[in-house]
Symmetry: D2
Subunit: 133 residues, 4 copies
């Protein structure tokens, strides 16, 4: 698969739970950060959009947990974005441990964009991103 | 649908992000807590199992975000558990806002159980739970 | 000591780290939630204030960790509020495990209130609270 | 002041709350990660110590919040460690925003080390670190 963005992380110990692995919920944090950095790299700043009353929202998340990240692991999130309907987009995001490139988690995150009134609204900058994606 | 467990929560402000809604990742925390309380109510203590070298692990999560919880919202998580294969189980977990009972999130969490060597292992207490489920 | 508010909690397993105790950082989350509920009980809604451009901010936190909360623990946070200068206030917040009332953490949280321009501004409702406190 | 370790971070949007600033509790997460990386850089692995039954624990935290980190901020945590009693050590940790080097938070974290029975126990590797510190 062709990814269009990648971001490296290192596990932080407070992200690990009593099983001594990264807690399930933390992966969604990682994925969100990678998506926002992806957008930022394409000139879309999440905080500015929120300020402007445009909310990018997740409507469905599918996460396949393959293996557990543990303390001290380095990993990379590789992402790609595609439009799935007039106002919906999908991020495919995979997490690979470094340096062995083992697939740890595969995710599909479906999102949309709404304006201040909660109505679907696709900002120009985001639409352009799909064309390029 | 018939649920076999329910747990009430109130949104905490630190769980809300700059969009002033509960952050996407936090719902997985809520769901995990509801599952552990579900197990506890049936005599299965998550920490004790972890101590005993038995790890309950999530292998797939599907979350449909319907509406956003906000500051001060009260809500309930209703859960039900069923066995989906010899060693896999599925929690269906739905989040309803209170008091209006509006469905906020619907989730399917597939899990399994592994022993200290990472091999599938279904403890007696859990197997019994499926029979009752 | 005379407390003017108390709130009961139960440890959630995702709050525990690889030492199988509640992670140090989580206590600040607990304390924040207890402060916001304290304010709410006195008619001050944190989200509404934020919307109105008034930010309650913490300027100093002192936390004495006495004992560690663990999985399944129930506990109560007891709080009291006093004014320490014209525009500063201090929450004293103590965490007691239940049912044995063992002191787990003692905290002093100093805060102030600023308006949209970042200037100190003590809203009427908060000033009234000090009088009553 | 002479620091003996530094670590760079970037704010992640899920760390920001409805005030659109990094939530107070998150700073303790940042500081913990910086401490563990500090120890790691000196050959002390936190997870390995925990496995070996030696728990490094925080007994007091003092945090002075100077200014708020916001979305997209880069920052550095600079740390130094000194022994304050036979079995207690103190991390001084300061957070500076980049690139303007503005001081955002100043912290003192007092810790100790206990063995499996909860008794104070200073492992050799840690004692050596104080000598070098």
């Amino acid at each position: 698969m062709q990814y269009s963005h990648e971001l490296e992380f290192k596990v932080r110990d407070y992200e690990c739970d009593m099983q001594a692995v990264v807690n399930n919920g933390v992966y969604q944090n990682y994925l969100e950060h990678a998506r926002h950095e992806f957008l930022q790299a394409h000139g879309i700043n999440f905080a500015d959009m929120t300020d402007a009353g445009i909310n990018l929202v997740v409507i469905r998340a599918e996460l396949d947990y393959k293996k557990s990240l543990v303390s001290n692991d380095r990993f990379v999130i590789r992402s790609r974005l595609r439009q799935v309907s007039k106002i919906r987009f999908e991020f495919q995001q995979d997490i690979f441990r470094l340096p062995d490139e083992c697939l740890m988690l595969a995710a599909r995150i479906i999102g949309t964009s709404v304006n201040e009134n909660g109505r679907p609204y696709l900002p120009e900058a985001l639409a352009r991103l799909f064309d390029n994606g």
